[in-house]
Point group: C2
Chain length 219, copies 2
Amino acid sequence: MSIPIPTVKRLPSYLRILTQRKELGEDHISATLLAEELGLKPIQVRKDISLTGIEGKPKVGFEIDKLIKCIIHVLGWDNTTDALIVGAGHLGSALARYDGFSAYGLRIVAIFDKDQEKIGKKIGDLLVRPMEDLNSYIAENRISIAVITVPALQAQAVSDLLVKCGIRGIWNFAPKDLKVPCNVVLQRTDLATSFAVLSVKLGRKIQDEDELLDDFDMI
Amino acid sequence: MSIPIPTVKRLPSYLRILTQRKELGEDHISATLLAEELGLKPIQVRKDISLTGIEGKPKVGFEIDKLIKCIIHVLGWDNTTDALIVGAGHLGSALARYDGFSAYGLRIVAIFDKDQEKIGKKIGDLLVRPMEDLNSYIAENRISIAVITVPALQAQAVSDLLVKCGIRGIWNFAPKDLKVPCNVVLQRTDLATSFAVLSVKLGRKIQDEDELLDDFDMI
C-alpha cells in the first residue's frame, strides 16, 4: 500500500509528538490530542494513522510505542542510510556536523570539495575529500544519497556527476532548479523561497496595521 | 495589489535565472525560456510576471534589469532586514555564517544562546550574547525577525519570549510546531520533513524497480 506524500509529510510531526509524550511517561495518545498539538483536524490525523495500518482503541487511543515503530518503518528510518555531502562551505560544513539527522536514520559519512585549501581539513569527524575520489567512494561504500551544498552555478554539473556515479537520491540545498533523470529522486530545501514567503507575509501584516492606524487617524 | 503566495514562492527562482542571464550579458528574456529553465508552463510564468506589473514586448520578451528590480521590490528584498538568531548550536552557527542570505536582503546581526560556554565566543563576526540581553537588544535595534535554531523542547518557550520582546516574524528551524499569536508571521524550514519525502520516494522507486526485475525473472 502506497501512503500519499501529504501524509508522509505529516508523519515526522506525529513522530515528534509521540516521542515527547513517551518521554513524559505516557503510553497512549488520542487522535484528538495529536491533532490539537499540531493544529490539524482530528479526522485528518485518524486518516493518516489508519494509512500506516495502526488501529486505535476506543477511549484510550493509540499505543505510542507501536505507532512510533510503525511510523519509523513507513519512513524507512529504521535502516540507517549513509549519505555524502558535496560542497564543504558554511552550509555543507554545518550539515556535516548537524546531529539532528541521526534521529531520522541519516548518517553523513563523507564530504567532498574541489577546493584544494579545504581538502584534507577536518569537519567534525570527517576529512574533506577531493572530487576525484567521488566515483570510487560511492561505488565502494554503496552510497545512494547525496546532499548538494555547492554554489548555484556549479550545482547542475555536480548533480550530473553524482548521477553518473550511481547516486539515486539527491537532496539539493543549492539555490538552483536541477534536472535529473526520472530514476533519480530529487528533494529541494530552499532557504530563499522560505524567506521570500516570510518577508512578503510580514510586509503585508505591517502594512495592514499601518492602514488600520491611518483609518483611526481619520476618525 | 496582493500577489498570491504560490507566485511569491516562484519569484526567487525567476530572480536566480534573471541574474544568471544578466551575468551572461543578456538584456531580455522570454517567458518561454524562463519557463523552460524552471520546468514550468509558459502561461504560469506570464501570469506570475503580469502580477508584478511588468509587461513584456512581443518577440523580445521582458527587460531583465527592470524585472529583477521589480521582483526584488515585490519581495521586499531592496531594504536590508536585520534579524537575530536564537540558538548557537551547529545549525545556528552555520546560518550566522551563511553568506547566501545577503542576496535576499537578510542580515544576521546577532546570535543568542543560554549556554555559558558559548556566550562571549565568536561565530564569524558575531559574539554569542546571553539570553538576558535579548529584550533590550530587540528594542534598541528595532529587530523584527528572529531565527530559531534551539532544540525542539525549548523552541516554544523561546518563541513566546521573542513575541513578548516584540518580534513580528519568526523563521523556525527547530523540529517543533510553534504556536504564535495571529499578528506574528511564522515560517518553518523543517529538515526532517524534507528528508522524509526523499527517503520514502527513493524507497518506492527502488522497490518498483525490484518488482520490475522480478517480473522479468518470471518471463
